[in-house]
Amino acid sequence: MDVIKVAFFVLVFPGFLFQFMMAAVLEWMDRKLYARMQNRVGPLYTGQGGFLQPVADLVKLFAKEDLTPYAADKLMFALMPLVSLAAVCASGLLVPLWVIQPYTSFPGDIIVDAYLLAIPSFALFLAGWFSSSPFSLIGASRVLTQMFAYEVPFFLALLTPAVIAGSWQIATIMAFPWWEGPWWSVLLRAIGQTMALGVAITCLQAKLERVPFDIPEAETEVVAGPLTEYSGKKYGIFRLQKNILMYTGAALVAAVFLPSFPMVKLFGEFAGPVFAGLWLLVKTLFVVGILSVIRASFGRIRIDQIVVFSWKYLAPLSLLQFLVVLVLKAQGVVHP
């Protein structure tokens, strides 16, 4: 019985099938918002309001011819899409859709999640490196350079709520009663959290390689960067991986930074987890909406500019808010 439960957990909910659905929904929402902000209509004809367009795109890609370059390392070239997909799907399992999740919720899962989210970038780098084309090589080196720029601020930002809650478990961080304590302590915590949220969302945008940080895949400069040689199924898997990454990354940010409510206490044993899950999804949509606005309002910056931006502004900012939180903690105002 347990095997079936685990299989359901991994493959259906909140595993692959659910993540696939969320990826499709979020991509549709992102594309629609992006289009409307540019005064266009966006996807329109597949399903109601183009709702099925992401799925249709994926089906089309899977039906297309799959080419492997002659000079590429065949094994790594084929393996990298799967590795990155596996990593993001695993990280999706860690997102607590209800309060305490069986099998995957354990103390320290936020660290594991952060590392799992870093694997796709490495996979992308290796994919570009082993496809042996000049554009792929440039793209691969850009992936790595960019990763050094955003990864450290992202980790520092994720630490803030963990330090406030005094736990390395996402579910515990979510359950932290943020409304308790004197008003100024709540306010200070909120300021620290907001700064961390800004840093985290910026870094998430860089992790997802979207404008203004789509430097590795800059279409007009290096064709598609590391993915230049990919086509058909392998490219489809990379695309799917990117969309699932958008869901898991946004869900992680939404879970640890945006306020949660004790749903179980409010709505009871049965309805509580359902409401908790729905609330998390609403927060995820909100984060993706912000990501879309960022994507629409900026141009792409250069690789040297993102390194400068990240180490001049993002890293000091994340250090600063971390310091604020540590001081608050030492003064004993964090724990009510």
Partner: protein, 400 residues
């Protein structure tokens, strides 16, 4: 080339190139240390083809040199032929020609701003600018009968008159558009991610621009005070009041500023022309089909710069030689040189900053079978057969 240097080919097919051309860059890390270009992918043999066609056929053939500055090429060509024929185009005809020319400049510069934004990944600006460009395109369609190849010129004048209704429509459009352009000027010079990509990139010092014979907004952004409309006036321009916009930034920011300010200048010129539109004929009534022997050079300020047409007539109804020098040809060498020393990421925007149009630049080729190398020109049918055969043999899919 040492072993640290990678050679990257950009083109003939590359997402940033809207037309085919080959650029080779030697890069070390992200820095460019060498650049070359090779043209010829868009050769269509137009100069040669003109020698086999009569003047009217040439006129509409030359209109197809380029989809953006189609009016420039026909105006320059008909100006050259009119010079040989000693025709005096009626004032109203001149005004209408210049009106379409300025409208074309509006849509060309708006197109360029959109393309430049797209090259640096600023797709929202690209979409909004092109949305507003559509207004100009529709006006041109209603005035001339087509969106792209206006075909309003004929030798000795223009073919269509403008109605009062269209006149008020153009004036209203100009008023709306001016407001939008001021907004784009604000965004183009203030949005930090956009400015960071264009400031100090692709620098072309004035001396170099002078030596490389640059033309148009590209040269004016380097501080060269060149404008055929003022230096060698034609059409309605002697009667109009306008400033020649120059900028001393010498980089892509300067080119954006020059183009945006030229848009506003064009708007004011359109208003002047429509308000003082003279009455009378729009074209010379009787134009001889045979052009007497002679030669003429017409210079014309196209949206991208100076457009030169040289025509030699030999007394028949066909020209003996037509030479077209499009502005991109003059600017390309300088643009490619200005990239050296900047980053790989700057290639698209630096090349695009001259508003390149390779169709304008290339014009001749004939495909011949080369027997010595055993290479043969493949027909479409042969290629298709070969593809089907390949798939049957190698992949095991039957496509037929």
């Amino acid at each position: 080339m040492d072993k640290d240097t990678i050679w990257i080919p950009v083109g003939p097919q590359h997402p940033f190139l809207k037309e085919a051309a080959q650029f080779d860059f030697d890069i070390r890390g992200e820095e460019i240390v060498g650049a070359r270009y090779q043209l010829g992918y868009n050769h269509r043999g137009m100069e040669k083809a003109c020698e086999d066609r009569n003047y009217y056929q040439c006129l509409y053939l030359l209109e197809r040199i380029c989809g953006i500055c189609s009016h420039s090429h026909t105006t320059a060509f008909s100006m050259a032929v009119e010079q040989i024929l000693n025709l005096e185009v009626p004032k109203r005809g001149e005004y209408l020609r210049s009106l379409v020319c300025e409208l074309e400049r509006l849509h060309s510069h708006l197109l360029w701003i959109g393309v430049a934004a797209h090259e640096v990944g600023f797709d929202s600006l690209f979409m909004l600018v092109w949305r507003d460009r559509e207004i100009v395109m529709e006006l041109l369609e209603s005035i001339t009968g087509n969106r792209v190849n206006y075909a309003i010129n004929t030798i000795g004048g223009v073919r269509r008159d403008i109605t009062d209704e269209q006149r008020t429509k153009v004036l209203a459009m100009v008023k709306d558009l001016e407001k939008r352009m001021e907004y784009y000027a604000h965004i183009g010079t203030n949005e930090p991610t956009f400015v960071a990509r264009i400031k100090g990139v692709g620098v072309l010092p004035p001396e170099k621009a002078k030596a490389m014979c640059s033309v148009g907004p590209f040269a004016r952004a380097s501080g060269l005070d060149l404008d055929i409309r003022r230096d060698d006036p034609y059409g309605a321009y002697p009667d109009l009041e306008f400033k020649v916009i120059t900028d001393t930034n010498c980089d892509i920011l300067g080119r954006v500023i020059v183009r945006v300010l030229e848009l506003l200048e064009s708007c004011s010129m359109i208003r002047q022309m429509l308000e003082n539109l003279p009455e009378g004929d729009i074209a010379v009534k009787k134009v001889p089909r045979k052009v007497p022997e002679g030669f003429a050079l017409a210079r014309y300020e196209a949206p991208r710069g100076e457009d030169c047409h040289y025509v030699r007539a030999n007394g028949t109804d066909k020209p003996d030689r037509v030479k077209v020098r499009a502005p991109t040809m003059a600017n390309l060498e300088a643009a490619v040189e200005s990239v050296i020393g900047s980053y790989v990421a700057d290639i698209p925007i630096a090349i695009a900053s001259i508003d390149p149009c390779f169709s304008c630049t290339d014009r001749t080729t004939v495909v011949l079978n080369d027997v010595n190398r055993g290479r043969q020109v493949m027909t479409w049918e042969d290629l298709r057969k070969k593809g089907i055969e390949f798939y049957r043999k190698e992949v095991g899919i039957s496509l037929s």
